[in-house]
Amino acid sequence: MKKKEIIVEKFLLVCTLITVFTSAAIIGILLYQTVYFFSEVSVWEFFTNTKWTPLYYVKNYGVLPLLAGTFLTTVISLLVSVPLGLTIAIYLSEYAPKRFREMVKPSLEILSAIPTIVYGFFALTFVTPLLQNIFPQMAGFNALSPGIVMGIMILPLVSSLSEDALHAVPRSLREASLAMGATRFQTSFRVVIPAAFSGIAVSVILAISRAVGETMIVAIAAGQQPQFTLNPFVPIKTATTYIVEVFSGDIEHDTVEYRTIFAVGMTLFVFTFILNNISYFLKKRFQTNL
């Protein structure tokens, strides 16, 4: 091999290794600051205290309210995106004519191209007032409105990925079922969906991961009050919102307050890391099974 060829290959390898350095750096800085943080605040307090007031005079470092906020908005968004997304996927893959599918799928994907800040504005100025007509007791900042809007944002992720999974199921399976006299509904739910199950699971897990990490929609429309509650009508604060909120103000570096951000970031990272790995291995399995 010529010398030039070897140099090129080495250069390409170095570029690839940058991704490894990125991961290492993310884990490194999160760990470094988190370890410092836990030398000043006990792990027990962090995970069991139900108050989060690190920036106040009386300091409480309980991450539970932030996790409750994240959990609440994530669940609401999934209640919107998963049933709706799966139904759309089944319709586009099993019922819709080809032309309709080719037009609708890219149109729905526009929803995922819209920057999240736009959804935040939509949630705050349109969806919240609308919901307040239905639920008068609802506060101006709440978990319900950003949760629903986040569900709309994730909708194309669920519908597109599930549709791909359904589409990948061999035709012969459907034909066998239809030939036995089953309706399309029966074929979809008893033959196609079970066959595409892990592909659908991947889309749902990725949706969870997206919802957990989503920042701007909740930062704008969910409020700034860390509350340990599952009430969708009151202001809450999610883990991601906390990080953004701290940086919107002034904060001194290398204080306990500063390190709370990294402890919260670490918690967030671990959650999404687990979810991403599950979805990656499910995807691999689905691809080899088909």
């Binding site: 250069f11 940058i18 991704t19 990125t22 759309i88 609708v104 399309r184 890391f273």
Partner: protein, 293 residues
């Protein structure tokens, strides 16, 4: 008796009814998605369109809503988009070429792939923390355009790698064999045959990644992009703001007049996003049409 037997039973009729009901229900669900999209666009246009004029495009930040504009934010966005692609493109495409053309099937390659899949799923706000610690503090680049674009470059790197790999994968092996048969080396084959053949797909991925970078808000807030700026940045070490952050700042203001500003800013942001996505869709379409392997 025979005619009776041929009539569909109640059960069969129920299943046929069930099938039909689901069909229309599912169609409604699909239309709901599109309806919300239309509603969102209508909402933003109705609030913001009247505010969109030359003054708005050509003014910088101001305490008064009617004097404020998006000039500095636009310039910041252009700078960030430019430098982000400058950093992310060569690295992303190189990494994709390595993984697709050079890497063998072994544990190390598998590790690289799992790692990239993981990076693609890391919440964007975490990338902000990375940029803050590594670029802003350790490398002492402060809250400059350079810090912002390096951070976003790392953020879109996995997206570029994945889409470039897809494009490279679609080039049939026979093309490479033909090139080898004529005596071309591996790199010559990639440079002169594989890359041109997959350029449409690569560009599509790049543009979509760039559109993602332009819409990002959270990581740039974390690295300390400023929200109020009177000047227009003109060097890579300057402080900056971008459109989404300017919009976020306006949304957080209690006065109603700022909501119109936010909506007008969103219209501009959406125009850029849709334009980029339109180009990407067009490129993909043309590329798929031109090449029939």
């Amino acid at each position: 008796m025979i005619t009776l037997k041929n009539r569909p039973s109640d059960k069969t009729r129920f299943y046929q009814w069930q099938d039909k009901v689901f069909k229309y229900f599912a169609l409604c669900c699909t239309l709901i998605g599109l309806f919300v999209l239309a509603l969102l666009l209508y909402n933003i246009l109705s609030v913001g369109l009247h505010r969109l004029d030359w003054n708005f495009l050509n003014s910088t930040s101001s305490q008064r809503a009617s004097n404020a504009g998006i000039k500095s934010a636009m310039v910041g966005t252009v700078y960030i988009a430019l430098y982000t692609s400058l950093f992310a493109l060569p690295i992303g495409i190189s990494a994709a070429i390595y993984l697709e053309e050079y890497a063998g099937k072994n544990k190390f390659t598998n590790f690289l792939e799992v790692n990239i899949a993981n990076l693609a799923g890391v919440p964007s706000v975490i990338y902000g923390l990375l940029g803050l610690e590594v670029f802003s503090r350790i490398m002492m680049l402060k809250n400059s355009i350079l810090t912002g674009s390096l951070t976003l470059a790392l953020l879109i790197l996995p997206i570029i790698i994945v889409s470039t790999r897809e494009a490279l994968k679609s080039v049939p092996y026979s093309l490479r064999e033909a090139s080898y048969a004529l005596g071309a080396s591996k790199w010559q084959t990639i440079w002169h045959q594989v890359l041109p053949a997959s350029s449409g797909g690569i560009f599509t991925g790049i543009i979509l990644a760039l559109s993602r970078a332009i819409g990002e808000t959270a990581p740039l807030i974390v690295i300390g992009a400023v929200v109020f700026i009177k000047t227009v940045p003109n060097s890579i070490m300057d402080k900056f703001t971008v459109l989404p952050i300017q919009i976020f700042h306006w949304i957080s203001q209690p006065q109603k007049a700022f909501a119109a500003n936010a909506a007008a800013g969103i219209i501009v942001l959406l125009l850029i996003t849709f334009l980029l996505n339109g180009i990407a869709v067009y490129l993909r379409y043309r590329w798929q049409k031109k090449i029939k392997w």
